[in-house]
Symmetry: D2
Subunit: 349 residues, 4 copies
C-alpha cells in the first residue's frame, strides 16, 4: 500500500526489458545515436509536427531549462502558487533561468485566468524597476490531482498570447492528464497555444526519462547550449532513448497512465465509501486527497500504508476539523487493485 | 573497432542485470531508499572512511558541483589547460560554481607543480581586483591517458594545502587510474590530500552512474542544497544505486578497468609494431595517442575503425609531419582483443 | 510642488560644498584614501561600535549585496510583500544573492511578526526541495511612510534569531525613521538585533551616497570580494566619502531628515484640513498618502504639483471610491514650507 | 609626483563647477531628466549618429554589461591576456554576462589579429561541449599605454564580423587614445566596426562618469533591464549628466586628455634622458613604463614619487636585470609639468 508518491515505484518490466535489449554494442554518444534519432522522430509523430527533443535528468531540469529558454533580463514567469516550480524545486527555475516566479492563485491547483490577467497587466514595459513578464507556466495534471480542460488551457494561452508570453506546460504527469481528457498530445499542447513542454516519463513507469519538447525549432540551438552548460547532456543518451522507445511502444505509456488513474478512482471510491475519511475533492488523474483524523491516519500507516499529509491548497473550502489533516495518496502503474482493496478494508471503519 | 570514446559502449551485462533485479517494488525516493543507503556505505568501505556521496547525472555536474561546494565570490580554480572542466564543459563549472578557471600548463595532461605554485603565488589576498584562489582540480586519469603517480598527487596537494585550497579530483576515469597504479581509493585520494572526487562509473561500464564523493562531512548539507538547486537530484535514485551496487560487486569495476587498460596496451603494442603509425607517448590507462598520416587514418576509418583526431597537448615534443595528425583511441570494458587484433592487422601496413 | 519622490531633489548645498572642497589633490583609490578612512571611523562613532563600511552605487546594490553576504544555496529571504527588494529592484536582489524572496504580509508596510513566524516555521531543514530560510529584511522607514518602533524591530529580530537568520534593514530612508523615533543608530539597529544595514544618504540630501554597514566584521572580507565582483567598487571613492563627510558634519543628516518629516507633517495637515482629499493613514516619516478623486488629482497636477498614484497596500482598510485613487506625496530636505502651503491652498477646495 | 594611477587624481575644477551648478531644483529621476536627455543628445552629436547611452557606476560595470548585452548561453568572449576584463575585475564580466573570457596574446597589450583568428576558428558551431564565441573586446588605449591604430581596429573588426561577433571597446581611457590618434569618436568606433563602447570619464577628470555607448539601438531595451537588474541605475542620474555636460563643454575632455598625454611624453623624455632608468617601450597615451633598479625605485618613492611595479607584458623583449623591475607611471589632467620636471631631476642620476 505505497501511496506516498508515484516516484516510489520502480520501473515497468517492459521498460526494464527495453534497457536490457539496448545494453550492448556501440553507439554515438551525447544524443546523436541511431536510437536517439528514432526516438526523436517518435516524439514528432506523437505530437503530429516536427519537435525538438532534449533529454534531461530530472523534471526540475526540464522545467528550469524550459523557462531559461525564454528568459530575458528582469524576467518574471507566472505560475500557480502551489506549483512545483515555486514550491518544490529549491530555486532551480530561478537559478537556471534568471527569472523570478510570480505566484498566481486559483482553485485546486489551476491558475485562475482572471488572476493571471490582472497580475500580468500590472507590469508596464517601460518601468524597469518592476521587471517584465516573460513566461506563463501551468502544470498538467496539477500538483493536487486536477486537470486543466482543453478550454482551460486555451483561456490561459489566450492571455499569454495577448501579452506575447510563451506558455510552458510542466508535464511531469503529462500522460495522466492526457488519458483523463481522452485527447491527443497535439490537442493538449501546441494546438492550444503551448510552446514548450516538460515531458515526464519517470513517474509513469520509467527509471529516469524526462524530456523537453520544444515546438519552436528556432530556439533549439539556444537550448542545446543551455542544456550542456547546465550539465544536463547525458553521454550514453541511449539509456534514455531506450526507455522512451519502450514507453511509447504499443501505447504502453497510455496503458500505465490509465492504470494509475483507474486505481486512483478505485481508491477514491473506497474513501468515499468509508466511515473514517472523506474525499477532499474529486480526483481527475492519479492523486487522491482526503481528510481524516490524525489518529486514523496513523493507524493506517501502522498497518503498512505509506502516504503523506499535505498543505491545504488555495480554493479548498471543505472542512478540516481540529484533529484532522489533509492527506495525499498517489497511485502509479505499479499500484495493484489488491492493495487498493486492502486499504479500502482498513479504512472502511 | 570502436575506439572513438569509452562512452560509445553500452552497459556491462552485470550492471544491466543489477538494474533489472531492482526494477520492482517500492522504495523511498530522492536518495533515501534502502539500496541508496547500502551503496553509500559501500562507498565508505571502499574509501576506508566515512564519506558523503551525491549521485548526479553527468561528469560535468560532478565537476561543477564539486567546485561550487568550495567557491567564494571572486574565486579562481586552477586546472590543467587541457582539462575537461576548461575545454569540454561549455562553461558549466563556471556557471554552477561562480569560479573562474585558471589554466595551468604541464606536460601531457598533468599540472606541473612549479607552474601551479607560481600561478597561485601571484594572487594577493587583499587585492580584490584580481580575485582569489579557491580550488585546485586535477584529472585522474588525465585527458591524454596519463596518470598522476601518488607522489605527483602529493606534490600538487602540498601546494594546495600551503595556500589553504581544497583539491578536487575529476575521476571520470578513476578506476582506470586506480588499477594502473595498483593502489587503493584511499591512497589515491584523501591520504594524498584530495578533498572531493568526481567518481565516474559511466565510462567504465555503467549507463549513467556518477557520484561526488566528499570527505569533509561538514560540507555535506551545503552540497545537498546545491545539488537540488542544480536540478541534479534524481527521484528514483535507485537506478543509480543499482548500477553502483553491481559495479562494486566482486570487484567488477576493477575488472572492467583492467580490461580496458589491457586492451589499450594491446592496441599500443600493435601501433608500436606497425609501419604506418607511431605511438605519440606511452599510454598509462585506457587512451592511446598515435601519429599517422591523414590518408592512413582515413583508410582505417573506411575499414570500420572509429576514432578521432586530437589537438596536440602541451609538452608533446614528438614530430608530427605536415600530412600527419595526432589521433586518439579509447578502449573500454566492451573492447575485445579480437577487434584490437583486427585493427592491428589493418595498421600493420 | 515636487512631491513625486525624494530622489527628484538635487543635493544639499553643504554636500555640494563638501564635494568641491575635496576635488583637488591626489588620494589613494578604491576606498583606501585618508578621507575614506576618516569617514569609516565616523560611521563607527555614529553606530557606537566598530563597523565595516562598503560604499556602493545604489540602494538596490546595498540591498542586493547585503542579502548576498548571507546567502546559501537554496536560500530564501523574507521581506514585506510591498518591499522595495520585492517590488522595485527588477530582480537584482535575487540576481546578486541567489536567494528567492518570500513575501510576508503585514499592515501598512510592516512585516507582521506572526506571519513571519508562520512562514519561516513551514520550512524543514532536511527537505531540500523547499529551499531554506537565510535572511529577514525590513525597510525602515517603510515604503508607505510608516516606521517600525524599536519594539517592532525586536519582535522581528527575536524570530530571526530563533531561526538563526540574519536581519537586514533597508535604510534607504534610515535618517527619516531615526529622527521620527528620536533614537540613536545603535538603538535602531544592532542593539535590536539588526546585522546589516543599507544606509542611504541619497534621498536625504546627497547626490549618490549609499553604504552597507556591516556589524559582523568576520564577513567583511567576503563582502569586499562580493562588491568588486558586483562592479560596485568606485575608483575615486573620495566622491562618496566627501558626501558622507559633509552629511554627518554637525548633524546635517538629522537636520535634513527632520525637515523632510516636518514638511510631510505640514502636508498631511493640509490634506487633513482640505475638503477634497483625506489622509489614507498617518505619516510617520516623509511620505504622505492620501485618497482623492482622480479629477481632483489631475487638477492639482495641472497646477504644477508632481506626485504619483499608488497601489493600495496590504492592511489598508480605508475607503477608496470608484472615481478615487490613492496618491503618494514625498518630501525632502529641499521641500519648502512655501510650496507645501501653496499646495495646501490648492487642495483646500 | 603622483604617478600611481589616473584615478588618484580628484576632479577637474570645471567638472566640480558643473556639479555645483546643477545641485539645486528638482528633476525626474532614473535617467529621465532634462539634463540627462541633453547629455544623451550630446553623445549622439559626438559620435555622429544616434546612440543609446547608459550611465553606470564603474568601468567594470560598463565592460560587464557590454558583454552581457551580447552574451548567449555557452558564450565565450575574446580579450587580450592582460586586459582589464580578464585581469582586474574579479570575475565581474563573467558574473554579469555569463561568458567565459578567452585570453588572446599580442605584443604590448594589443590583440594580435592572427592569434584572434586562430582562436575563434577552433570553435565549431555544432559542438556544444566547447561553448561558442560571442564577442571580442579590445581596450583603447591599452593597459600598457599603447594605442590601436585605426587599421588595427579594422583588422580586429574584420575578423569579428567574419564570425558574426560583436566588437566591444573598453574605453576607460577613450579620450587619451582619441587625441593620440588625432581622430574622431566615430572614426575610432562604429566606422571601424565597433558595436559597443565603455566610455570612461572618470580617469580623465570626472569624479565618477562612466557610460555604455551602444550603436545598435535594437538592443537598448534589453540593456535597460540588464542595467537595472545589475543595480547600476542611478536615481539622481543628474550627477552623472552634470559631469559629462561639463566634460564635453568646449572640448574640455580633449584638453584634459591632451594634457595627460603630453605630461606622459615629458615624463618619458625625462626617463629617456636619465642615467638610472630606461623606457620599456614608447608610450602612446598617458602611461609610461620604465625599467630600473629596485633600489633606485625605492629611492624615488622615498623622495615622494608614487608609482607601482608592473608585471612584464606579453611581447616585451627588452632586458630586465635581476635587480631590476618594470614600473608603471600614469599621468592625468592633474599632473603638472612641475612635478614631472621635479621627478626628472630626481631620476637624472
Amino acid at each position: 500500500m505505497f501511496f506516498a508518491s508515484d516516484n516510489w515505484a520502480g520501473v515497468h518490466p517492459g521498460i526494464a526489458a527495453g534497457l536490457s535489449a539496448n545494453a550492448g554494442g556501440f553507439s554515438t554518444a551525447y544524443g546523436d545515436g541511431d536510437l536517439d534519432s528514432a526516438v526523436y522522430r517518435r516524439f514528432s509523430e506523437i505530437f503530429e509536427r516536427e519537435v525538438a527533443v532534449f533529454f534531461v535528468a530530472t523534471g526540475t531540469a526540464a522545467n528550469s531549462l524550459s523557462l531559461a529558454a525564454y528568459n530575458k533580463p528582469g524576467g518574471i514567469a507566472f505560475a500557480h502558487r502551489e506549483s512545483h516550480v515555486i514550491e518544490d524545486e529549491c530555486g532551480a527555475p530561478e537559478f537556471f533561468s534568471g527569472s523570478r516566479l510570480h505566484a498566481i492563485d486559483g482553485a485546486l491547483g489551476k491558475i485562475d485566468p482572471h488572476n493571471l490577467e490582472r497580475a500580468v497587466s500590472r507590469f508596464a514595459p517601460e518601468i524597469v524597476h518592476w521587471g517584465r513578464p516573460t513566461a506563463v507556466s501551468i502544470t498538467q495534471s496539477t500538483e493536487v490531482g486536477t486537470v486543466y480542460g482543453l478550454d482551460d488551457i486555451s483561456a490561459i494561452s489566450d492571455i499569454a498570447k495577448r501579452f506575447s508570453l510563451p506558455l510552458h506546460m510542466d508535464g511531469a504527469r503529462f500522460a495522466n492528464a492526457l488519458v483523463a481528457l481522452e485527447t491527443t498530445p497535439a490537442e493538449m499542447t501546441w494546438k492550444r497555444g503551448v510552446d514548450i513542454v516538460s515531458f515526464g516519463g519517470t513517474k509513469n513507469g520509467c527509471w529516469c526519462a524526462e524530456a523537453i519538447v520544444l515546438f519552436d525549432l528556432d530556439r533549439a540551438k539556444q537550448l542545446s547550449f543551455l542544456r550542456k552548460r547546465s550539465a544536463q547532456l547525458f553521454s550514453k543518451s541511449r539509456f534514455i532513448s531506450a526507455q522512451f522507445d519502450a514507453y511509447f511502444k504499443d501505447g504502453l505509456w497510455l496503458d500505465t497512465a490509465r492504470h494509475a488513474n483507474a486505481t486512483a478512482a478505485r481508491l477514491a471510491a473506497a474513501i468515499e465509501d468509508s466511515a473514517t475519511a472523506k474525499l477532499a475533492w474529486l480526483p481527475q488523474a492519479n492523486e487522491v486527497f482526503a481528510v481524516m483524523k490524525k489518529t486514523q491516519a496513523e493507524k493506517l500507516q501502522s498497518a503498512g500504508a505509506a502516504f503523506y499529509d499535505w498543505h491545504k491548497p488555495h480554493g479548498f473550502d471543505g472542512h478540516i476539523g481540529e484533529d484532522e489533516l489533509l492527506y495525499r495518496f498517489v497511485t502509479s502503474f505499479a499500484t495493484t487493485s489488491e492493495e487498493v482493496d486492502r486499504f479500502g478494508q482498513l479504512i472502511a471503519g
